[in-house]
């Protein structure tokens, strides 16, 4: 099909040179989207929300990881993922297509090592949802190996700033390998696992027993190594539970409830998380709201934006994308429109 031919043509055209991010028209963000035709694409966006490039995707995308120096990004398929595309963003061409090994599925997120030589991918053993971190050589794009993620159903995976230590949000949910239906909600247990680059489990943090059905899924990291994590509640929707938590290695988990009047505003579902300056933003497409917290987790404000999900930092605030195609700027005071595309922005807006 057209999309696939595009991708293959891009692969053949893939250049030898390795341009830097400035050559890619300096996109500030990457986001996957669904186009009006029903096809899927990866967009490069400026800070003002203008489209710098569009690259077709073979199926619905999820998140992306940007190379620390090269104008290169890896776009991940939505879980259960069968592809990850390495894209040369300056030319909008495909550098490589990664396919998980037999019996493995990509889970939508990944991260580069500090020097960009290794890509770590969040994966599951398809049959059991056992968590795997896949390792890929980014020079030749062959698989280097894999190790356990430290839990079930890993989702976002990040590298701690200034370190090679990985932190993985093991969501705890076992899913059917075909239809994503959830198989273990009665017994699930999520965790945050810290792993060395060779797979040693350095530290693990779990939620208290009564929040066992809170699935840790997305991460936003501070320079000092504090991990802010966003959760999705799989328990009784009548139970108001915190959807934001903070953790720093060697310390106890801290849970950050919203103000009482906003207890149900997120409808138990946080879709993305980002930090900017002294603020943390937590998006809920189901609630049509973005909640802002201080870096210490105290609630600041909640602002309405329908189907808001993608969020990434800019100076002085955040940029938020939604399923209606709007790109908006969010500050403590509220939203202001930036741009609009004929695209339904998918879950994540990734800062390059």
């Amino acid at each position: 099909m057209a999309t696939r031919r595009h991708v293959l043509a891009g692969l053949i055209a893939s250049a030898m040179s390795r341009p830097s991010w400035a050559d890619a028209g300096s996109p500030a963000f990457l986001s996957a989207a669904r186009l009006p035709s029903g096809a899927f694409a990866l967009f490069g966006l400026t800070e003002a929300g203008a489209t710098v490039f569009t690259i077709p995707l073979p199926a619905r995308g999820h998140a992306a990881a940007a190379h620390p120096t090269r104008a290169e990004a890896v776009a991940f398929a939505r879980r259960p993922g069968t592809y990850a595309l390495v894209i040369a963003c300056a030319s909008g061409t495909l550098r490589a297509r990664l396919t998980p090994p037999e019996g493995r599925q990509f889970n939508g997120h990944g991260a580069y090592s500090a020097d960009g030589a290794v890509l770590y991918t969040s994966e599951v053993v398809a049959e059991s949802s056992a968590g795997i971190v896949g390792l890929w050589d980014t020079a030749g794009w062959h698989r280097l190996g894999e190790f356990s993620s430290g839990g079930v159903g890993p989702h976002e995976l990040r590298r701690l700033p200034g370190s090679e230590v990985l932190v993985v949000a093991n969501g705890g949910i076992q899913t059917d390998p075909q239809d994503r239906s959830q198989l273990n909600l009665e017994t699930m247990r999520s965790n945050l696992s810290y792993l060395s680059p060779d797979g040693a489990l350095l530290e693990q943090a779990e939620l208290p027993e009564e929040l066992r059905q809170n699935s840790i899924r997305h991460l936003a990291l501070a320079g000092d190594g504090t991990v802010a994590f966003a959760m999705q509640w799989e328990g009784d929707p009548a139970e108001p539970v915190p959807l934001l938590g903070l953790h720093r290695r060697g310390e106890a988990l801290r849970l950050c409830p919203p103000r009482e009047e906003d207890l149900f505003a997120m409808r138990g579902y946080a879709g993305s998380i980002a930090r900017s300056g002294g603020l943390i933003a937590l998006t809920s497409p189901r609630g049509g709201v973005v909640q802002l917290f201080t870096a210490e987790g105290a609630p600041v404000a909640g602002h309405a934006r329908p189907d808001a999900c993608g969020v990434a930092p800019v100076a002085g605030g955040f940029v938020v994308t939604d399923g209606g195609g709007a790109v908006t700027r969010l500050t403590r005071e509220g939203f202001a429109p930036l741009a609009r595309a004929a695209a339904a922005w998918d879950n994540h807006l990734v800062r390059i």
């Binding site: 497409p285 939604d322 429109p337 998918d346």
Partner: protein, 332 residues
């Protein structure tokens, strides 16, 4: 917290007028003028009457009729959980249910024990936990033997006055601010609704979420599972309004759906059948959830509501040109 939509209201209200009746806004002005605004006016009137009645005579048996009238009026708008309903947690404070841990009753017991008139002053009472205020707080005071026997007159009056105050604020915000804001969707300076489609989608989302709430909470909570039915979890079971609330919520959702998209024969028929099934349950507190022979009828109604949801998505969503959000529908 200040809400940004409050600041530019006057300008937007003026902007909105020329748009009224515009075909491009199909359904939205009708939904606001025919269901949303009259529904809020009725709730204000009913809670004002309840407040008056409480001041005149706070005995449970005399207050019950006006409390039921206020609850009936709330069922006409309880599905509208956006904008003014979210400000200061108003919708939660008006009707805090479900409350699986019983936090409302606990807070009320503490208030009664404290017997401190200062806590019941309007400004202080407005700061009391949302779980211990509103219609369900009054239900316990009027129907729960554990509370209704207490000398609770002062708390009843404070709760009724607080409810009436919230109703006025809610209605005023809708009429003066939020309805004009929806009607001026897409106008310069309207940062809440960037396009007309966003405003239409906002009401459509309330419709869909409201139907899900009735199916999954009002019916689903007492149903529990076959092996563990939970009739004690039915909404407003103390007052025996569980089935009535389902019927009234379906009627309100039907009005909203048909105001948004009048030419929706399958939706009309679906609601009619659902309402007649609900009326035929003859099970005010859903005690039948624990009775295998009667349980099935509640389950069938729940299935009908799930099917109706799909019909609404196709027919009403199609007429409005909107759907449940891309990310909201299918998260990860």
């Amino acid at each position: 917290m200040r809400h940004p939509w409050r600041t530019s209201i006057a300008a937007l209200a003026l902007l909105a007028l020329p748009f009224l009746g515009s075909g491009a806004r199909a359904g939205l002005p009708e939904a606001l003028s025919e269901t949303v605004l009259p529904g809020h006016a009725a709730f204000t009137a009913a809670t004002a009457a309840l407040n008056e009645a409480a001041r005149a005579d706070c005995r449970p048996e005399t207050l019950r009729p006006s409390w039921n009238a206020a609850f009936d009026a709330w069922m006409g708008i309880s599905h509208l959980r956006l904008g003014p309903a979210e400000t200061d947690g108003r919708a939660l404070a008006i009707a805090f249910w479900p409350d699986p841990k019983g936090s409302g009753a606990r807070t009320q017991a503490r208030l009664l024990e404290a017997a401190d008139p200062a806590l019941l002053e309007p400004e202080r009472f407005a700061e009391v936990s949302v779980a211990a205020r509103g219609l369900f707080a009054l239900e316990r005071l009027l129907y729960d033997p554990a509370l209704a026997s207490e000398p609770a007159c002062a708390l009843t009056r404070a709760t009724a006055a607080d409810l009436a105050r919230m109703a006025v604020e809610l209605e005023t915000d809708w009429r003066e601010s939020f309805a004009p804001l929806m009607l001026s969707a897409g106008a310069p300076g309207n940062d809440r609704f960037l396009t007309e489609a966003e405003a239409r989608q906002a009401l459509f989302t309330q419709l869909m979420t409201g139907l899900e709430f009735t199916a999954d909470q009002r019916l689903g909570r007492p149903l529990g599972t076959f092996d563990r039915p939970r009739p004690e979890r039915a909404e407003a079971r103390l007052s025996g309004r569980s089935q009535r609330n389902v019927e009234l919520s379906l009627a309100a959702l039907e009005r909203l759906a048909l105001a948004l998209a009048p030419d929706s024969p399958r939706t009309r028929e679906g609601f009619e059948r659902a309402r007649s099934q609900a009326a035929a349950l003859d099970d005010p507190r859903f005690e039948g959830a624990a009775d295998p022979s009667r349980r099935l009828r509640i389950e069938i109604l729940q299935q009908r509501l799930h099917a109706l949801r799909d019909q609404l998505a196709a027919e009403v969503g199609g007429a409005l040109g909107v759907s449940v959000g891309f990310n909201a529908a299918d998260g990860d």
